[in-house]
């Protein structure tokens, strides 16, 4: 680590802060602010109990984001494996002593705070894969033996998360990891192989699903069949969306949400409430903001001069996309109900923190876009 010659390798904090992508920060602030108005409406026109807390979290999260953004990218690279290891230990701990929450073991009580190891793993997995692949050459990618270790890195936490059981998060982990593999240039036919193999294993996997998971899938297939049972959520959500119409019922006028027909209107189904009150127009504006955010993510990835930065930004952006897509597809009845929040919008501290940490890393890649990182730095000992 003697001389990293080119520009951008050493920047002062103030220089970095100036370099922060403030447009991106503005964008997430706009999205989060729309979220605050939605939470205000969800509480029946009251800042309490959701909007105020969400705003406080966002403010704190924004500071954490900036701290993460200006911390040298190489420090993050060094810490990647450590963070992964911590995440893995916590996942195992949750498996052993996890407290029961929502019928599944997801939370770990660390005395002062409750942490959700699977949330840590979402970021940690991308960090780790990015670091690992940073050390591989183009030729190495083509060799299967270099793919065994990263596959294990992905599958161990995925299996642990499935066991919790949290199918939604597991699929999110799998899909965002898959995207990182894809970005590195792993051959397309290998992906096809995995997808076909996975498809063939589906009937077997079905038998391992919990009853409530099976029911969710079945309900998704035909929500109208049992409107007061498990299909209730999807059906009420569709009614809320549809009745919102083109221009919506107006702010705070959503009957479905305000009369409690809509379940969990402040968390997973907040998009529905927003679209009921603001109509198709409001929904499309919100989606456009998310598209803009994701486009920013890709732009950052493409600007990065290091493979680590590219993969990190690409992986995080894909994860962001998956959140937004799965949530909206779920509430509009395109995919089964899985507990995925709408980024920056849904009420919830853990999700907000995970997202802002992720976006912090994204901005970090932008700030350090010109830092060149030698391949050998990816080695486990450096």
């Amino acid at each position: 680590m003697a001389h990293w010659s080119t520009r951008g390798n050493d920047q002062s904090i103030s220089r970095k802060l100036r370099d922060v992508n403030w447009g991106l920060v503005l964008l997430i602030t706009v999205i989060a602010s729309l979220g605050f108005t939605a939470l205000y409406s969800a509480a029946g026109g009251d800042i309490d109990p959701w909007a105020d807390r969400q705003m406080a979290r966002f403010a704190v999260g924004l500071i954490i984001m900036l701290v993460i953004a200006v911390t040298d990218i190489r420090i993050w690279m060094r810490l990647s494996y450590v963070i992964y290891a911590i995440g893995l230990v916590l996942l195992i701990a949750v498996e052993l002593v996890g407290r029961i929450g929502m019928g599944a073991q997801r939370w770990l009580d660390l005395g002062i705070v409750h942490v959700q190891p699977s949330e840590i793993m979402k970021i940690a997995l991308v960090l780790t894969l990015a670091r690992y692949f940073h050390g591989l050459s183009y030729e190495d990618i083509g060799r299967i033996r270099w793919l065994v270790l990263p596959l294990a890195i992905v599958l161990v936490p995925v299996v642990l998360v499935i066991k919790q059981p949290d199918l939604g998060t597991a699929m999110l982990l799998l899909a965002s990891s898959g995207a990182v593999f894809f970005f590195t240039g792993v051959r397309a036919w290998k992906f096809m192989l995995v997808i076909i193999g996975g498809g063939a294993a589906l009937p077997i996997a079905w038998n391992f699903l919990h009853d409530y998971q099976k029911r969710r899938v079945l309900t998704f297939m035909n929500p109208e069949e049992d409107p007061l049972g498990s299909g209730y959520h999807i059906l009420q959500s569709k009614i809320a969306l549809g009745s919102g119409g083109f221009s919506g019922k107006g702010f705070m006028q959503g009957t479905q949400s305000h009369l409690s027909f809509l379940p969990e209107k402040q968390t997973d189904f907040i998009f529905t409430m927003f679209a009921e009150e603001h109509g198709l127009i409001g929904a499309l504006v919100l989606i456009a903001l998310y598209i803009l955010l994701i486009a920013y993510g890709y732009a950052i990835a493409l600007r990065s001069r290091s493979q680590y930065g590219r993969l990190l930004a690409g992986g995080l952006t894909t994860m962001l996309f998956l959140y937004v897509f799965i949530n909206i597809a779920m509430v509009s009845g395109l995919v089964p109900v899985v507990g995925v929040p709408l980024p920056l919008f849904s009420y919830g501290g853990t999700a907000m923190m995970t997202l802002l940490v992720g976006i912090g890393l994204l901005v970090n890649v932008y700030v350090h876009r010109d830092v060149e990182i030698p391949r050998h730095m990816s080695g486990p000992l450096s």
């Binding site: 050459s137 183009y138 030729e139 995207a179 894809f182 970005f183 590195t184 240039g185 007061l228 009420q236 569709k238 009614i239 809320a240 969306l241 549809g242 009745s243 919102g244 119409g245 083109f246 009957t255 479905q256 305000h258 009369l259 409690s260 027909f261 679209a275 109509g279 198709l280 929904a283 499309l284 989606i287 998310y290 598209i291 994701i294 486009a295 890709y298 990835a301 493409l302 493979q307 590219r310 993969l311 690409g314 894909t318 996309f321 897509f325 909206i328 597809a329 509009s332 009845g333 395109l334 391949r375």
Partner: protein
């Protein structure tokens, strides 16, 4: 530089694939937009309706049922408060759990549960189903307190029907009961929980008038069914009251006069046709049906040999016996087969073909004419009259006087009775008429059956001078007290074309029936001249007296089991000087008309004239009623 080239490779691959994935993601967002367009634009109308359906609960507001009043405004059927608890299936996820929770507060037994679940199946999900009604205030308050733990439970203060006189008016007013499945019709009211409709009597015939029109209230509710606010309300229209022609005091007196006896009595105004009392004893308590009759109560009513559920005044069909004789005589006079002077010798029997027809008086009456034959109720005279006149002519007069067909009274279950003719026998039994059958028709036996109401109508038509007065039980014009139209029958109703002289002979005979020394009902006459009553006794055989019995000894009524005793009948009008009221009384298996029915008729007629319901103004209360006084000691004379 090799390293750089490879790095470039990696960057190129990344760029290509990032663009690829980004494009795919954009495409997926496009799919989301399309989905939202489908839901929010193409299907918006459908979902808008569903949202409104979610949000708005239509509640029917049951109208207050109209009251049933007597001619002076006394309430015979009214409404009282009813505390009810109901369950709305769509507002609870688990009906069983809710019922279980409810059963910890009030008693909910298994049959109730089964009924509630059955009704929930049958009705639309948003219709509340009654779990229990007529709750005490304490129970009601208790449920109210616990309502947060009872999803789907609805409390309600409704109104329920109340029959303050219980038995007395059961056959006139009738009763209301829960709507049966086959009664569900267009009126959404019928689907309302615990809604009652008329099942018999005036309650049934005038149900639509009494029912009123439903109001409705649009209520915005949240997902748990809690009402948020009322959006719109229309109160509906309460049912109209129905005013009867009945005088409650007279009805009560008549009912009580029957005591333990099974029978019926009808009192009517011979000019207006207003029914002033219509009694069928025993009655039943209509409140039982309203609240929901229990198994034991139902069995008790059904197994009672006095048949309390049958309105004997209009549905009881009895041979009229000797009360038929007036019209047999009129038929004979009209046909010319007999004249007022025609004399018939009664030796106590009459032979025809191979049969002997007996007179009730074993020794015979001697020589009789129409009037004396009525006075002493001689059977042989009327055997002769019927033999000469023939069944068809008798039937013609009987029909004119209102027998053999529905009187058209506004009550349920009326029967028409039978007035036989040749054609009738051919049609009904497929047999020709035998001349010998004419004879028993002459004394109102054989195939002849009539209802007490028909007999009262017959008597009224005889007493009013032969005008076709129809009976009615509901006031047409509103208001209380005397009918506004006080014209006599001759100016109101079509004439029956019975000659005045012939009618007068019949009435003369009836006047002599209650006169000593030979009148069959002289013992039951009214002593006060201004209230004097004319009438005719009748005893109708339930069972044919066998030849063996005739030859040995005819058993007295008191010796026979109740079911085999004769029915006792009496028809009457009063006062003789200016007839106004007509009455028919039957005591089932009471024995002789003179001994059993005539005293009852006398007391009712005396009370009726004292109360004078046809002329009494509304403000004047009826005189306090006592049992009839100033009557002769019971006579022992027997009537045919």
């Amino acid at each position: 530089m090799a390293i750089n080239r490879r790095d470039n490779d990696l960057q190129r691959v990344f760029t290509r694939r990032a663009l690829l994935l980004g494009t795919a993601q954009l495409g997926l967002f496009g799919a989301l937009a399309a989905r939202l367009y489908y839901l929010q634009v193409m299907e918006a109308h459908k979902y808008h309706l569903l949202a409104e359906e979610n949000r708005i609960n239509m509640r029917l507001l049951p109208p207050r049922r109209g009251r049933v009043l007597d001619r002076f405004g006394t309430e015979l059927a009214s409404n009282r408060r009813n505390y009810r608890v109901m369950i709305v299936a769509e507002q609870t996820r688990n009906v069983d759990a809710t019922l279980e929770a409810l059963s910890k507060l009030i008693q909910v037994d298994d049959t109730q549960r089964a009924r509630v679940k059955r009704e929930i199946e049958r009705r639309r999900k948003f219709v509340p189903v009654v779990v229990a009604e007529n709750l005490s205030w304490d129970d009601f308050a208790k449920i109210n307190l616990h309502s947060p733990d009872l999803p789907g439970v609805q409390l309600d203060v409704g109104e329920t029907r109340d029959y303050p006189y219980a038995q007395t008016f059961s056959h006139v007013v009738g009763y209301v009961g829960a709507v049966a499945e086959n009664e569900l019709g267009d009126d959404p009211l019928l689907e309302l929980p615990g809604f009652r409709i008329g099942k018999s009597g005036v309650e049934k015939v005038y149900d639509e008038r009494l029912r009123g029109r439903a109001g409705h209230s649009q209520i915005e509710v949240n997902a748990y069914g809690r009402a948020i606010r009322e959006l719109e309300r229309y109160n509906g229209q309460q049912g109209d009251d129905v005013v009867l022609t009945i005088d409650a005091d007279l009805q009560r007196f008549a009912q009580e006069r029957f005591g333990e006896d099974s029978g019926a009595a009808v009192v009517m105004d011979i000019h207006t046709g207003e029914i002033l009392a219509l009694v069928s004893n025993p009655g039943y308590d209509p409140n039982w049906f309203n609240v929901g009759i229990t198994g034991p109560q139902w069995r008790q009513l059904n197994n009672d040999k006095y048949k309390p559920l049958i309105n004997k005044a209009i549905a009881g069909q009895y041979p009229p016996g000797s009360t038929y004789k007036m019209l047999v005589g009129i038929a004979a006079l009209e046909s010319g087969s007999m004249t007022p002077e025609t004399r018939v010798f009664c030796p106590g029997h009459m032979d025809f073909g191979n049969n002997t027809f007996h007179c009730w008086k074993k020794g015979g009456h001697g020589t009789m004419n129409y009037v004396s034959a009525l006075e002493e109720s001689c059977d042989v005279y009327f055997y002769e009259a019927a033999k000469r006149t023939g069944v068809d002519k008798i039937g013609e007069v009987a029909r004119k006087l209102g027998l053999g067909d529905f009187t058209g009274i506004d009550l349920t279950g009326e029967r028409r009775g039978i007035i036989p003719t040749r054609a009738w026998k051919q049609g009904a039994l497929g047999q020709p008429w035998h001349p010998g059958e004419n004879l028993v028709i002459g004394i109102g036996q054989g195939y002849v059956t009539t209802t007490p109401l028909q007999l009262a109508v017959m008597t009224a038509r005889l007493a009013n001078g032969g005008y076709a007065v129809p009976p009615r039980i509901v006031r047409k014009e509103d208001g209380f007290g005397p009918a506004t139209d006080q014209r006599p029958a001759s100016q109101r109703w079509p004439s029956l074309n019975i000659k005045r002289e012939q009618l007068d002979l019949a009435l003369e005979g009836m006047i002599r029936v209650t006169a000593p020394p030979r009148g069959t009902a002289a013992g039951a006459r009214i002593m006060q001249a201004q209230y004097a009553m004319a009438g005719k006794t009748g005893s109708s055989q339930v069972r044919r007296i066998s030849r063996l019995e005739r030859e040995t000894r005819v058993r007295k009524n008191e010796e026979k089991p109740w079911e085999e005793r004769d029915h006792a009948l009496f028809v009457a009008y009063a006062p003789i000087s200016a007839p106004r009221y007509a009455c028919a009384v039957i005591i089932e298996h009471g024995g002789s008309g003179a001994k059993a029915a005539a005293p009852v008729a006398r007391d009712i007629m005396l009370e009726c004239q004292k109360l004078d319901p046809s002329r009494r103004p509304r403000s004047a209360p009826g005189p306090t009623t006592t049992t009839a006084s100033g009557t002769a000691p019971a006579a022992t004379k027997d009537g045919g």
